[in-house]
């Protein structure tokens, strides 16, 4: 006897309940707070228009996230390309190096950057000793520092989806393109790149969404001057007790991410992006 497909739901029911209770509940609570604290109404959302500070913080967040996403995906693409075309043993060595960098704590990375690129860091004192510069280059404690730290952190996240999509490309397609007279650049632009589009989109989405919530790296490497949404939310929750403002910003982030996913879904099947329909 064939079971009706619906019975599969019974198997996932406990998980659905768990997700509903532990995940949706608190999220609804946040949404509720954003329209009730301190007074009921849309006052918290009105701040988005009336407050210059909020506008500036959101702009900083988006700017930093976009720049970081572009560079992470660019670097990720080149690394993945090199990995796919490396010989077996080299490839697995590269993969393990990539995974190791995944596991290094964000704090360790952050402080390493300070030691390397700080005012009296290895790079600045080296360049000064060589007489190349007379004043230390301000790499850290500013937006550049935040970008360096974030891009470094995000590159492995960009590599993996792109690597997966490159690995599934049939190498003969490239050969066919060349044998039909296309140049290397044409093959890359018109054959290879379109074939890896899903991987690039997945990597960009993943990197951008993770970036939106970054806290430690901007807080430390930005020297207090690069205030992004996550840190601002934390200050409003913990220090100034403006929970309504914090909840509103959290809701905004949530809807921002959902909108982004929705827009993407208009252009391509999301399941392809996240590897669902692959192979």
């Amino acid at each position: 006897m064939r079971l009706p497909i619906q019975s599969g739901w019974l198997l996932v029911l406990p998980f659905l309940l768990l997700v509903g209770g532990l995940f949706l509940g608190p999220i609804l609570n946040i949404l509720w707070l954003s329209v009730t604290d301190p007074t009921p109404g849309l006052g918290n959302y009105a701040q988005l228009v009336t407050s210059d500070t909020l506008g500036r913080i959101l702009w900083t967040t988006i700017r930093v996230c976009v720049i970081c996403t572009v560079f992470s995906v660019l670097f990720g693409y080149s690394i993945a390309y090199a990995m796919v075309h490396a010989a077996g043993p080299t490839q697995s060595r590269m993969l393990s190096l990539l995974l190791v960098s995944f596991w290094i704590s964000v704090l360790v990375r952050t402080f390493s950057w300070l030691m390397l690129l700080g005012r009296n860091g290895v790079v600045n004192s080296g360049l000064e000793a060589l007489g190349i510069i007379s004043q230390p280059i301000p790499f850290m404690r500013n937006e550049l520092g935040v970008l360096i730290g974030m891009i470094h952190y995000m590159v492995p996240y960009a590599v993996l989806p792109i690597l997966a999509s490159m690995q599934s490309i049939d190498g003969r397609v490239v050969q066919a393109s060349r044998s039909l007279g296309a140049t290397g650049a044409q093959t890359l632009w018109r054959v290879y790149l379109p074939l890896t589009r899903a991987g690039v989109v997945a990597a960009s989405l993943l990197v951008f969404i993770i970036n939106l919530g970054f806290y430690v790296i901007p807080a430390v490497l930005g020297g207090g001057k690069v205030l992004m949404v996550a840190e601002y939310i934390s200050v409003q929750v913990l220090v100034t007790l403006q929970w309504g403002t914090a909840a509103m910003l959290a809701a905004l982030l949530l809807f921002g991410v959902l909108t982004l996913l929705f827009i993407m879904s208009r252009f391509m099947k999301l399941s392809t992006v996240f590897g669902g329909a692959r192979t």
């Binding site: 500070t53 009296n120 207090g224 220090v239």
Partner: protein
Amino acid sequence: MHDKQFMRETLLQGAQAFQAGKMGRRSFLALCGMAGFASTSVLAGRAEAAASEIVMWNWGGQSEECHQSAIGVPFTKATGVPLKFDTSGPLQGKIKDMVDSGHVTADVCDADLFDAVALGKTGHLEPIDYSVVDKTKTVDGYALEFGISIILYGYAFMYDTQAYPNGAPTGWADFFDTAKFPGTRSLYKWANGSLEAALMADGVEKDKLYPLDIDRAIKKISAIKADSIYWGSGSEAHDMIVNGEVSMGMVWQNRGRSIETDTNGRFKLVMNQALAMPGAYIVPKGNPGGAAAQTFIATAQSVQSQLDLFTCLGMTPTNPEAIAKMAEGDQPYSITSAANMPLIALNDPTWWGENTDAAVNAFLAAIS
């Protein structure tokens, strides 16, 4: 001990759910059976809930050891109640959340006196019991309804002696004068202390700071923004100075001494115009240890505990008797010693308790 505590909490929650009709009679009895209790003993258990431990909520690191040795040991000796720690940092938002959730797990928070003002007003704190705790064993004006200052820390600045060989900076006016004293500065990024420093630099008398003129302070701070970076934790402030990222940096005054020692005096602490901050003990509403928390606070006021805490953490005692007993060599680093008292400003916790949100957000808007 923990198992018992857990069992008691489970049963109490069960009993409350049963009473509220959320749990069936059978489930509740089964729960009692599993725990080996009859329901009556559960309810009796709550009534005689003598403190089995006192949980101090602090910032961890060195302060955990120091609080244990300076206050925990004598407290346990006198009462038999052990001192435990939650080291996740009792920020206002976390205390509010804990009390609102109804599951209070901390007895005493190592917080600021302005937290006592802010959270006392909203009903999140137990009042201090001044029949147990002594009002006279602290600085004048620092024994409030919902909190009492046990130690003082402060905001002062340090400078690099190698950056200024011809004449050292002596006060906040020099700190904010980047023409006369070129170099990068560091300030605390959550406004506290930074606003007072800016006002003193701008010529406000140290005993006429409050109510703070936020706009005036922000103007002064914005003027050196291009030459400033901002720190969020004590260790970050420490690193910025020791790694030479700044030539003058604001620090928590109690850390100044170790920086001076560690660097053989290359970086010097300026106590002139330092701002003394009342660190306070506050008790979250409905704390599990009950009245024992008040006894704990009273123990922390004892001369020996206060002196030990100074040796261990560098925090200045508030008990005048303890200040009088400090060693000669310690006096310069005690923010309220006789020699420092005429130089320093005293923080007003009531102003901060009522204006934190406005001050912090104005500051963040200016520096970001």
